[in-house]
């Protein structure tokens, strides 16, 4: 397996603003790593630093425990947040060109373009200009551009933004396949439910420094117990509001999500619920990634 990608003490200042602040984490091979943070947390700057697209004040990006070379960078695939393709150039020509810049022979580029257009649901669009495609299809072409040369590392900045569920599924499937094939995959997203489904590992940053990292299971397992209770006919879950040692995390169409203090007995909660009405749902749940995220950046 190639890699891993190691980011070590990355620091980047733009005038008074510190975009990256001694940021250190790894992107392991064979997994999809989700990269989370609020807007302006430094995700894009980090990703650009991997490709040498932004200068660093200090710190280093390493690959397989060696400093990153330009040759190795060519073996990476990058999908920037603001999509970058020639609007008036045919899709096929454009992808062949990009594939060859990444070191493919003319013949291999030709094959890769056909394969990926087919795989991403764009067969027969090789002669279309990029500007003639829908937003979703442009996004697929951009992803194809990052994948053509069978990269060791995929870095994708918001690959799911603006996509319909089918598009998200298609791209998600490709990311998981790449990880299964032993590649390093790092992607940023604000769609936390998708990240939870796709990723094994998650990195959360705020204000340019690391606030949490680990597998989704590890992160979700931590923290207080969560209980989802549904009482028929009580959409606002008024019964739960007065319970001692219990706080309401969220309430949704009659189902209330409760966070229990250490000392609180769940039987007390059940009894209170039964008093309020017929209990149709009573489930212990692990933390959601959205909760992990909110707590981490709070």
């Amino acid at each position: 397996m190639p890699g891993p990608l190691r980011l070590r003490h990355l620091t980047r200042r733009f005038g008074a603003l510190t975009a990256l602040d001694d940021l250190t984490f790894d992107v392991p091979a064979g997994q999809v790593t989700g990269f989370l943070g609020h807007n302006g947390a430094g995700k894009t700057t980090t990703m650009r630093a991997v490709f040498g697209l932004t200068d660093l004040d200090s710190g280093e990006v390493r690959w397989d425990d060696a400093p990153l070379s330009q040759e190795q960078r060519r073996r990476f695939g990058y999908m920037p947040e603001e999509r970058g393709l020639y609007p008036a150039m045919p899709v096929g020509d454009q992808l062949r060109y990009l594939g060859r810049l990444h070191g493919l022979s003319a013949r291999a580029a030709e094959r890769a373009v056909d394969t990926w257009l087919e795989r991403l649901g764009l067969p027969g669009r090789a002669a279309s200009k990029v500007e003639e495609l829908s937003h979703g299809n442009q996004q697929r072409v951009q992803l194809a551009a990052a994948l053509l040369h069978d990269p060791d590392l995929l870095v994708l900045d918001e690959p799911l933004s603006g996509l319909d569920p089918t598009g998200m599924d298609a791209i998600g499937e490709v990311l998981v396949d790449q990880a299964r094939a032993g590649k390093c995959v790092l992607f940023s997203s604000h769609q936390l439910d998708q990240v939870e489904d796709l990723c094994e590992t998650v990195v959360i940053i705020a204000h340019g420094h690391l606030v949490a990292t680990g597998t989704v299971d590890e992160l979700a397992a931590g923290g207080p117990r969560r209980l989802v209770v549904r009482v028929a006919g009580d959409r606002d879950a008024t019964w739960a509001k007065e319970l001692p040692g219990v706080s309401i995390s969220e309430s949704e169409r009659g189902a209330v999500r409760l966070i229990l203090d250490e000392a609180t007995d769940s039987d007390t909660v059940l009894r209170a619920a039964m008093t309020a009405g017929r209990v149709t749902e009573f489930v212990f749940e692990r933390r959601r990634l959205s909760e992990v995220f909110r707590e981490a950046i709070a």
């Binding site: 490709f51 660093l56 393709l85």
Partner: protein, 472 residues
Amino acid sequence: MKNSLPFVLLAISATVAAIRIRSRLRARAAKNAKPAKDGQLAEAAKPKRPARAWLDSDLITVSPRAHELGLVAGRELSERLRGRLFRIGTLLILVAVAAAIVIPTLHKNHPTPQNVGVVSTLTPAVQSAVRSAASAAAAGTGTTATLITEPDAAAARDAVHAGRLTVAVIDDPNQGVNLLVDESPDPKATSVTAQFVRSLSVVLGEDASFQSAGLTTQQASQVADTRPLSISSLRPAAKRPSGAFSVIGIILIFMMLTQYNTWTLMGVMEEKSSRVAEVLLSAVRPARLLAGKVLGIGVAAFAQAALIVTFALVVAQSVGSTLMRGSGPLAVAASLTWLLLGYAFYSWVYAAAGSLAERRDQVQSVALPLSMPILFGYAISLSTITSGAPSTFYRVLAYLPPTAPFAMPTLVGFGDVAWWQFAASVVVSLVATVGVARFAAVVYRRSILRTGRRVGLRDLFGGARPQPSAGN
């Protein structure tokens, strides 16, 4: 010369046909590339490898640097050649060049025949004098004269007014015999008609003088046939530019430098604004991307320039234009050399400037100061060619890289430059180009990825600069 027009038309239509056939073939190839049914790629109808394959050969095993450079340059070249604007623009330039060469020769070779009216009330002696004077004047000005007899002065006046006669010889009770034209001619006018009328008036005037002096016909013709004495000089005549080509060459260099530099500028700006630059630079070093761009556009530009000049030479040859006589070929070679050097020098500057801008409106403010030295070199060269005497200042300009592309070929046209002076200027220009390229690469690297607003030079070089990233 009479057969020149078909030649020109043939050349133009051959070019048009070639371009049409090429674009039709491409369209067919693109159509074939589409699969017969959705989801199935027709194996036999895969898109052909693009025409740039010759630049596209697998260099990667030999040299990754040459491979990248070739790829970037190849894309630029094929994008230019694919562009409709490029094809139509080239065609329009060819038509303009053909017109500029052919029209003067047509004008020279087919002067309007002159109709001379003679009033029948004039004495037969005067009428025959007009006849011989008209043919003499016509021969002198390279035209033909036809004599038309008018019944009286009033009829002749009407005919002149209506334009049927160029000039009428009438008998005026007050002035005696005189010439009548529609519009009073400018004494300096050089048109065939003006020369013919002046010549006719001189010959008829002389004739009248000889008659009143009582000379016999033989004596008169002897006096009329005087030859001027030859003049010898102590110093040779001042050198004049070889003529038309210097001007055409300077105009071509100006047009092409402006056009090609705009391509580079817009190309870089568009890569920045469409954010393709970010994708490209994740795989290619900035300096190589920049160099590939300059090289690719340069090849397209020089191919176009060579086509235009070859076309001009062929047309000039076939219509027997004097354009290419004398020092013409040398001036052509000098112009092409300096077009190339001028492009090499300016393209880096324009590419760096393009990386500062992100939108078309920003391009204007970036490009304007850069176009100043080009405009200056162009204007001062045209005025120097007109004056015929290059000043010392102008000779200095021939060694400064920004103005040398205009000044040096002009001096070559004057026949005023030794080979080593030419070579020295070339060397200065090449050295400067290397320096400019390095500077441009730095500006490009620092500004191509800064988006949002126009990047000022202070942003690039002022204040605390961040260190280059590790592993870079």
